[in-house]
């Protein structure tokens, strides 16, 4: 659907923007920008999302290149995990001697 729109519209393609706030942290999705190419997408992401020193690194990816799960399949994908709370690591006694787990 988005590809159909892009081919008939004069709008610039959409890019998703990911910012790393500090070294060592992961990149987090912060929003999106329109741009004609990857270089412009980086510039726009810098100008729109890092004006207040929000980041030290930027990733951009064309929104059309993101493969998303289908909301209609949400039950099949996520429901089976609902009754398996034992997967949370809260059922174990941690010995006092263990500092980092």
């Amino acid at each position: 659907m988005s590809e159909d729109r892009a081919s008939t519209s004069k709008e610039w393609p959409l890019y998703e923007v990911f910012i790393r706030a500090r070294s060592g942290l992961e990149h987090k999705h912060v929003g999106s920008v329109h741009a004609v190419d990857a270089r412009m997408a980086i510039e726009h992401a810098r100008d729109v999302y890092t004006r207040r020193q929000e980041g030290v690194s930027i990733w951009v990816v064309r929104s059309a290149d993101i493969v998303a799960s289908d909301p209609a399949e949400a039950d099949a994908l996520f429901e089976p995990a609902r009754d398996k709370v034992y997967r949370h690591p809260t059922f174990y006694d941690i010995p006092d001697e263990v500092k980092n787990l």
Partner: protein, 263 residues
Amino acid sequence: MPSAADLPVPDAAIRARYVLRLADTSLVLAQRLCEWIGHAPALEEELGLANVTLDLLGQARALLTYAAELEGRGRSEDDLAYLRGPGEYLNATLAEQPNRDFAAAIVRQVLLDALRMAQYEGLARSADPRLAQIAAKSLIETRYHLPYSTGWLARLGDGTAESRRRVVAALEDLWRFTGELTAGDEVDEAMAAAACAPPVSIIAARWSTLVDEALATATLVRPPEVPPDSPVPCGKRGEHTEHLADLLSEMQSLPRAHPGARW
């Protein structure tokens, strides 16, 4: 540059004049760029232009403050910005040229970003520590501005027939104002002799290289050199086109109507 220790420091009035030329070009260009706010082709581009504008304004403020100190007449940066007439402004006339369209704004920006890059690279090693400090900070900002404007020059020059037509027309129209960018005078010579500024020949060569690279990427042809006896006004001597008076009357309207106003 020769060692600074055994060189005579230029007269404060000469240094003030040199710094004022830098300051005024940044200030006038910032004022032109901020006219895009609310009119830029895309929200992202508007923020991009606004960021460049604020960088230029910051450079102008630091330089105006220093110029006012050198001048020693008790004037502030605001006095210099708001209470001087067009004849006292020393900006390059290219900076005051209007935003006829986006292509004209981009051509003007590329030519002046390349100039500021060439100037700040040399001034970052100035024997004048204050000027060196301002230049070093401004150089970092300019290293973003130049790729930004040359990127747009390439998109327009190598884009559609219409974008190319507009950018070629803008280049032909604005090129006549480039003569003064690479021509030195007694102020430039005095500053260079004291290692306070790079020689104009160095700035001119670097500017030329940067502009040639930008034009080549955009598949544009460099117009012929501006003859030295060109009748175009020389901004650094206080000569200007009629556009500067309009720009200043808008920029200075509030402080002139309400002297000393604060908020």
